[in-house]
């Protein structure tokens, strides 16, 4: 085909001439519309007929930007008219479509001024459907193709298109909704503009008080959150590194199970770790009672407050650090370490001066992730917080609590955003511009250096007890689903599983009788759909960030990372505000959940991709490009296969996060698309711990099976011919090592 934009233009025409323009009440994929009056019925009609038959004349101009590019068929790419036509068509199409969508809604004109200008409008229009979506996509690609023809990004159509697409997606699904909620920081409760109220809320003692340092009063939420996040991030990064070293650099026997174990907390639905911790360390907990009986220590309530939340967060987030760090620790080239040892450095010096600096991006990423996760964490402070208030829960209760103060919630959200973004910039500053490349494609073999003795001991001493604690906690959880009243009446029962997951046989086959089936299927299908999109969008973004040079790159990066820094509660409310009305009417559908997950979890894919990709030498791309592959081919055939750990991490993480996320989901679930976590919250609120835990156990099992499945099917990336570890205790003679390896 002569021009790359032609299929996209065709797509636009299909959207304009054939597909139903508006959102369908019965859903597109039921295909009811095909037999029910399409194409002339105005519920189902495409834009062209809406315009010609339905008096929606304002839809007809959309044909113009679709007609204009037809003139380009005979032109070559170098013709200046080529790029100009494409840019004008795309830009006009996009702007006009969005403009008319926002101006005319369910109740006619949406802005008061338009009423007086054009008079009352009788027609109404609903949210964009597939016709509109295809047109929009078509215009976007026309625009970016035009820009590429202008010479943007060396004229690379794939890169320009990808950047355009990601910018558009992030703009629509992150910036647009969040701006809606942030604007409300400057509003009073009736929706009037009130900047002074903002200042009053922002500088309130509830947020900034430091009186806990000097007296018995409580400190402000901002300080609480910050202190907690720093501690959590530090501890989890160290633990994660320690686990990564045990798995890659020691001869530890149960590495594989250790790997699995560290993934456990991440597949844990919220609240469960908190509940298990209460049963272990709460005032009536098993461990507490044991100490009370044996050492007659008065049972205390230390768990409720900062120590408890910290413990639960470290349990929850260590695996994230581990997932990030394992790829990085594995990626450090053994030849570097060998070179250092050949130069007579001992293992400790090699580790400190060679390995550790090479792991810096990974360490910084792990720290950043844990820091942000801790700030945004909702479930653990909810269960264990006691009087220790943090920003994320305060935001939630500012919205749903007795105050109902959306403005205060928005103020807290801005603050939270400020903290996470500061962390982001600090981390970038720290990594700096050094080269961390170690996977180069050049001959590179050798064995990983083992860590020295003290280091090994330290790793064992931290990682193994932690692993043991994790096992105990999961034992408690699995056990909890089978007892009558968890923590009080521990007699065995299957009742909870029956209530949730019973299956019956009826006239027409299987009847899913249990109360949990509905939400379980919804959760699984939505999470499974969200995972690959998250991975694709995330890794593509990472590729653009690491491998391509373009203007505004840091702004682009900031934009893609932003959604991670926004607490789920804020995302949830902002999505309802933004996507409940035309033109983007998504509430009540499953798509809103998928989109929410994709853009919330995308930063994890991005960070993982960046960390992995900055270790791949650019000469690999260049070789591929020199051999005639284009950037798409290079991305697919060279980069992707080397990114397998990052892909696994992104897939697993987004799937699991979609299943376990709570705070955003609460606001987005609808009767037809209920999610497991929001169902479980209801159970926990009612004290139905038995069923809640039974349900959680099933979720954990499902996620575990999935993770193992993904790991097996994606496989391990092969960086070098051998992947062995030297076990030699002291000497660093290469020849000796080779014998053992």
């Amino acid at each position: 085909m002569k021009h790359s934009f032609i299929p996209w233009l065709l797509l636009g025409w299909v959207g304009f001439l054939l597909m139903p323009w508006y959102l369908l009440e019965d859903g597109f994929w039921s295909f009811v519309w095909l037999t029910d009056g399409y194409p002339t019925d105005l519920y189902y009609a495409p834009a062209i007929l809406q315009g010609l038959l339905g008096d929606k004349l304002w839809l007809l101009p959309i044909a113009l930007p679709l007609l204009a590019p037809l003139r380009l068929m005979s032109l070559t790419k170098n013709d200046p008219r080529y790029s100009r036509y494409l840019i004008y068509s795309g830009a006009f199409g996009l702007i006009y479509m969005m403009g008319q969508g926002f101006a005319i809604g369910v109740t006619g004109w949406q802005f008061a001024g338009l009423d007086s200008l054009f008079g009352e409008l009788e027609q109404q229009q609903y949210g964009f459907g597939y016709g509109a979506m295809l047109c929009g996509l078509s215009f976007l690609i026309l625009l970016t193709t035009g820009l590429a023809a202008r010479g943007f990004l060396k004229g690379d159509v794939f890169v320009t298109g990808s950047i355009g697409l990601i910018v558009a997606l992030v703009g629509v699904f992150v910036f647009f909704p969040v701006s809606q909620v942030l604007i409300s920081a400057f509003m009073d409760n009736d929706g009037a503009f009130a900047p002074t109220a903002f200042l009053g809320k922002f500088f309130s003692d509830n947020i900034w008080s430091l009186s806990c340092l000097s007296s018995g009063y409580t400190c402000g939420t901002a300080w609480n959150s910050l202190a907690l996040a720093i501690m959590t991030a530090t501890i989890t990064t160290l633990l994660g590194l320690s686990f990564a070293l045990v798995v890659t650099r020691t001869g530890f026997r149960w590495k594989r199970s250790l790997r699995l174990l560290t993934v456990l907390p991440i597949i844990t639905p919220p609240f469960v770790i908190g509940l298990a911790l209460i049963l272990l360390f709460g005032r009536s907990g098993v461990v507490t009672q044991f100490f009370a009986d044996v050492f007659s220590i008065e049972p205390g309530r230390w768990l409720y407050g900062m120590p408890g939340v910290l413990l639960a967060q470290v349990l929850s987030f260590t695996p994230i650090s581990f997932l990030v760090l394992i790829g990085v620790v594995e990626g450090v080239s053994p030849s570097m370490e060998e070179a250092s040892q050949t130069l007579r450095a001992d293992r400790w010096r090699t580790f400190v001066n060679v390995s550790l600096p090479l792991m810096r991006p990974g360490l910084a990423n792990a720290f950043l992730l844990a820091f942000i996760e801790s700030l945004a964490d909702f479930g653990n402070p909810m269960v264990l917080g006691g009087d220790f208030d943090v920003l994320s829960t305060e935001i939630f209760f500012a919205i749903v609590g007795a105050q109902n103060d959306q403005g205060y919630a928005a103020v807290l959200a801005i603050l939270l955003l400020f903290f996470t973004l500061s962390a982001f910039f600090l981390q970038r500053h720290w990594i700096g511009k050094k080269s961390y490349t170690t996977v180069t494609g050049k001959a590179d073999s050798g064995a990983y250096m083992g860590v020295n003795h003290g280091m090994k001991l330290a790793c064992y001493m931290t990682a193994l007890p932690w692993a043991a604690l994790t096992i105990v906690i999961y034992g408690m959880i699995m056990f909890g689903g089978f007892v009558q009243n968890w923590g009080y009446d521990n007699s065995f029962t299957l009742q909870h599983y029956q209530d949730a997951f019973s299956i019956g046989w009826g006239e027409f086959g299987v009847i899913w009788e249990g109360a949990a089936w509905d939400s379980l299927w919804t959760t699984l299908s939505i999470s499974a759909l969200a995972a690959p999109f998250t991975a694709i969008v995330g890794l593509l973004t990472a590729y653009l960030l690491v491998r391509q040079q373009f203007k505004w790159k840091s702004t682009f990066e900031f934009g893609t990372m932003l959604s991670f820094a926004i607490p789920g509660t804020v995302i949830g409310i902002s999505y309802i505000l933004a996507f409940n009305v035309p033109p983007l009417e998504l509430t009540g559908t499953g798509v809103i959940l998928i989109i929410c997950f994709v853009f919330r979890n995308m930063p994890v894919g991005v960070r993982g991709g960046i960390a992995a990709m900055s270790q791949l030498d650019k000469s690999l791309d260049e070789a591929s490009l020199t051999l005639g592959a284009n950037s798409l081919m290079t991305f697919r055939r060279v980069i992707l296969p080397l990114l397998r750990p990052a892909i696994i991490a992104a897939l697993v993480y987004s799937f699991v996060r979609a299943i376990t996320s709570v705070s955003a989901v609460i606001f987005l679930v609808s009767a037809d698309h209920n999610m497991a976590t929001s169902y479980i919250i209801g159970l926990v609120e009612n004290g139905e711990y038995g069923i809640a835990i039974a349900y959680c156990s099933v979720l954990i099992l499902v996620m575990l099976v999935t993770i193992i499945g993904i790991n097996l099917s994606v496989g391990k990336r092969r960086l070098r011919r051998t992947e062995s570890i030297s076990h030699t205790p002291t000497t660093s003679s290469p020849s000796f090592k080779e014998k053992h390896a």
Partner: protein
């Protein structure tokens, strides 16, 4: 062609697969339910069985439900909001998020239920009522050699130091009801003195209103302040807790029901409203372990539920204490004078 990011477009197309808006079958109803899950599903199944109307029901706490109604005000997706404490229903009524409807059964309802309707300008109506009280864990009190508290005043005695739990009124409607109850019983200043004394005994202000009694059930605290029907529920589950109706008298909540303004299935919503107020349907609630007092005079109060005739109920002024400015004033004062006090 090979230059185009077709993978992504494919991805987006597939993502949109689930974009199908919920089906609009004949006779459909979207219900927002703010009681316990069991009761929600009991209502759903029995309503569907009787009317053949296809119910989509989602359970959300009353605060979340109210937040959703506010957010969706321009284009409501919910038809009727059933259950949940009365204050948010009144707020929704005040903001005209719900619509006026006088159910046929109105005259056969108890006074407090009718009053709820009157206060709201008939935008909401009482479905059930629950009285405030506290519960204690017998085992813990016994092991500490402490007597069982019987009155609100008892809770401030120094011997219960670190043993009392109540929710934070900023986050919990239950606890706001308690705050408003104290203010109405004692007068505002005395009430805040009482709260300051109580504060010394509080080990934690929880987020959720019913959390204190769950903590008491599991032995994490000795005494929890919450609604009596929540305590009865724990008792029936077999936990060693006892419910107390305080000797000085107490306040109560009116669980309500409102039809959403702009409901897409108004006819079905009205059918639900009439259904939910029928005596046989309200009596059925006991099956779902709901121990609230039903609003229809002919409905049977479940055994174990607090008896409103023998309880000393205060004359709770829902109009005044549900209003936004009273609420803001009391919460602000609580924040400033109580919450950050040293213990």
């Amino acid at each position: 062609m090979k230059n185009s990011p077709y993978i992504l477009s494919l991805a987006i197309a597939t993502a949109a697969t689930l974009g199908a808006a919920p089906a609009m079958a004949k006779g459909k109803l979207n219900v927002l339910c703010s009681t316990d899950t069991d009761w929600c599903s009991l209502m759903e199944t029995s309503f569907e069985a009787e009317t053949g109307i296809d119910v989509s029901l989602i359970r959300k706490s009353s605060g979340e439900a109210y937040a959703q109604l506010r957010a969706e005000a321009k284009n409501p997706k919910i038809d009727i909001w059933w259950g949940g404490t009365g204050d948010p229903h009144l707020q929704a009524a005040a903001e005209k998020l719900t619509q006026v409807y006088k159910p046929k059964a109105l005259s056969s309802l108890r006074d407090w239920a009718q009053n709820q309707a009157k206060v709201s300008g008939y935008r909401t109506v009482g479905v059930y009522a629950g009285a405030l009280g506290f519960g204690y864990n017998e085992d813990i009190l016994k092991s500490k050699g402490l007597p069982a508290p019987q009155c609100w005043k008892d809770l401030t005695k120094p011997m219960y130091k670190g043993e009392v739990q109540v929710a934070n009124p900023n986050s919990s409607g239950t606890s706001y009801t308690a705050l408003a109850t104290f203010v109405q019983m004692m007068g505002e200043d005395t009430a805040f003195d009482f709260l300051a004394q109580l504060h010394k005994n509080i080990n934690q202000y929880t987020k959720s209103g019913s959390a204190p009694i769950k903590a008491a059930s599991n032995g994490e605290t000795a005494i929890g302040i919450t609604f009596i029907h929540d305590i009865v529920k724990q008792v029936k589950k077999g936990y060693p807790v006892k419910a107390v109706a305080p000797c000085e008298g107490t306040g109560y909540e009116v669980g309500s029901m409102s039809i959403v303004k702009g409901a897409r299935h108004l006819r079905e919503a009205k059918v639900w409203a009439e259904f939910a107020l029928r005596p046989d349907i309200q009596t059925m609630a006991a099956k779902a372990n709901a121990y609230q007092v039903p609003s229809n005079q002919s409905a049977t109060t479940p055994p174990g539920a607090p008896d409103f005739d023998t309880l000393k109920l205060i004359d709770y002024d829902f109009a005044k204490y549900g209003a936004a400015d009273t609420r803001q004033h009391l919460l602000q004062r609580w924040d400033n004078e109580i919450k950050s006090l040293p213990r």
